[in-house]
Symmetry: C4
Subunit: 241 residues, 4 copies
Amino acid sequence: MSIDLARRATAECLGTAFLLAVVIGSGIMGERLAGGNVAIALLANTLATGAGLVTLILTFGSISGAHFNPAVSLADATQGGLPWRDVPVYILAQIAGAFAGVAVAHVMFGEPVFFASTHVREGSAQLVSEFVATFGLLATIWGTVRTRPTAVPFAVGAYITSAYWFTSSTSFANPAVTLARAASNTFAGIRPADAPGFIVAQLLGATAATAMFAWLVPSLPKVASRVVEQRRAEQRQEDAA
Amino acid sequence: MSIDLARRATAECLGTAFLLAVVIGSGIMGERLAGGNVAIALLANTLATGAGLVTLILTFGSISGAHFNPAVSLADATQGGLPWRDVPVYILAQIAGAFAGVAVAHVMFGEPVFFASTHVREGSAQLVSEFVATFGLLATIWGTVRTRPTAVPFAVGAYITSAYWFTSSTSFANPAVTLARAASNTFAGIRPADAPGFIVAQLLGATAATAMFAWLVPSLPKVASRVVEQRRAEQRQEDAA
Amino acid sequence: MSIDLARRATAECLGTAFLLAVVIGSGIMGERLAGGNVAIALLANTLATGAGLVTLILTFGSISGAHFNPAVSLADATQGGLPWRDVPVYILAQIAGAFAGVAVAHVMFGEPVFFASTHVREGSAQLVSEFVATFGLLATIWGTVRTRPTAVPFAVGAYITSAYWFTSSTSFANPAVTLARAASNTFAGIRPADAPGFIVAQLLGATAATAMFAWLVPSLPKVASRVVEQRRAEQRQEDAA
Amino acid sequence: MSIDLARRATAECLGTAFLLAVVIGSGIMGERLAGGNVAIALLANTLATGAGLVTLILTFGSISGAHFNPAVSLADATQGGLPWRDVPVYILAQIAGAFAGVAVAHVMFGEPVFFASTHVREGSAQLVSEFVATFGLLATIWGTVRTRPTAVPFAVGAYITSAYWFTSSTSFANPAVTLARAASNTFAGIRPADAPGFIVAQLLGATAATAMFAWLVPSLPKVASRVVEQRRAEQRQEDAA
């Protein structure tokens, strides 16, 4: 891997910070302006998050892989992608970035730096939603990274745009995001007591999708280890152009 | 064809399940949050479905072709694409997946697993709409798969985004989707009695578009049989990069 | 030019018909569902039209060039693109298709086949808008067709998405579309008496943009004549893949 | 650089004029039609601006680089991209274009050519927002221009779509845009007294992002100077196709 870990961890931290600033910030803005219509607030939140993800993955993808998500880093490691020794650093960087992003969003909107959410998100329907949401996210990644790596940013952005609406939990699908959203008593928050269940469901969903696609695409393990190489090759190709 | 039928059928089943989860789930969410404004509910439903289709076709396209639609599988077979012996398996996988997706959406939103729709969709305007909607869908596929295969996911996603609004039926354009939506008494449902007419109109539309494009693009039949080969070649090319 | 005129004219006719079905149909649907909020109706109309244009240009671009617009065909001819002898056929096909599309939309929504619009669109602000709208459309085409031909469908779709909102006329920017919309007394209609002024402003805007870009991009005339060749080369390249 | 400065400056002027026409025009249209719901007005404004940016960068990128923004031109010059001697011309062209665009928007909507805004945008939350907004914009540019130059128009369009909602200032992120919006007492305006603070915050954000990415992507300075070369090479490649 040609880029050193300090730079890659910084990219993960910065990217996850922006992701949370987008999720929390656009949730606050949407709710403030929507005049009580929750669908309009969520449409704004969705548009900002989907478009933001496209940008962030395009921006940081060639540096760190643009995981921004412990479930993705872990799944990638199980398939021989990210080296296991880098996984703890990636996850810490993601969690630190997520909380930093929440703080920045709060400052931009004149809210307290952190304040625990009281937004109840409990019950089996929500847990099934998080399982499905994270299954779909990992399916999207495993289904595209092999055959169409340049389409990954658009596939993931489109997936989350869709998933905000087809799951009753609005698809957190990310343990670092879940932890940080517990520290925001705003539109996109989640009561801290509800976070652990979300995270368990997310990890189960990620595991199931990774297992399914390891069978569905037999060459996946071998290919996963080559993704970084592919990225570097694409880059060389574009540099040569 | 390098990928065995079991994997391709699984991809069709899984992809169609996600498609229905998106259509039904985002319909429920949109209606619950929109405060009675049907246009806002349909905007949410449209955004989720269009973006979801982009993701699903990118994810499953290189495995099974990402038909998710008996009308597409049949049309593809008539042009020498999908082998006729695989058609029944594809269609069964699509229908099974469609019902599974409806069930998952219902569980995610705390609704009964299946319950027959009472949403009336009848009359000649609706039937003309389904003919036009499916004509347009197949035109989009035949018009892009030949010259710009990598643009197909975006073309189809954009087409359905548009078609939800320019037809009075909101463009089902898919017999498997029509059957499964009859089992959901929610925003996106259709009364079972209205489903057969929709399916007939869809098959007629698909047939007309396929005939039109067989003339419009004289090399289509020959090309269609090469689509899978093209996909494999694209993949080799990206692997080599 | 390898594709015969009959097929190209059919593609222009069919594509323009779909374009008008999208514009008129989504306008009717938007207005019916929006509960009196014109912004929501126009958002739906915009989303459908922008996405529809992406699809239609992807679908028909490699057959006829996907002009769907007399102003584009004329401008292309002045720069050595479309042969002058084909221009009248293109324009007739576009106008016939436009009226057919209006009729299909009306049938799909249970309206009279044709009925003159009473939607007043007059005054200098509207005429300036049509000049600017068509200037921008031709600028988009001339600015992208030369350097990034595969991006043209997305550039034009995004342009119209934007132009529906930044001009007071909602950017007709197309003489064939203007004529046909005069035959629809619905959301997207225009009073027949206001159509001639719109068309004059459109042709002036197209002329100004073409002159500007002939200077801005000195190689444009020479390049324009090669656009069809480029398209065929792209196709060969993809076929070879 | 093969394109002379007169043409490049014209492209910057024309592109920035269209950008402002989009921002101001769609703001007016959105506010007029939204029936008092500010979220709906801002959704329309966002959709038009994001889509407009995609179009404008695709259209003018290969001529002038499509900066449309003094902060971008300055940052590019510090990294060895735009020659310093061209910077003043670029900035003057951008400011002149911005005011022209505001005037055109006002004429299209029957407003006075210029009239000072009374829209108060003050306080530290707004200034932090502009710092973050411009940091993100430059991060997006530096993160994509190196590895995926053809994705820049989509990355920037998606970024601004997101940033309109996740910052409390709605992300001006552009000194020329800020000055010109002070001359429009409409939805998108800013009180002249608040403009200087915005511009300082923007320049600080641009500086911080440029420094961060100079470290994060060690080859950036060397690469930046080759961006124009890359663009020309891409063009030759497409011409050859």
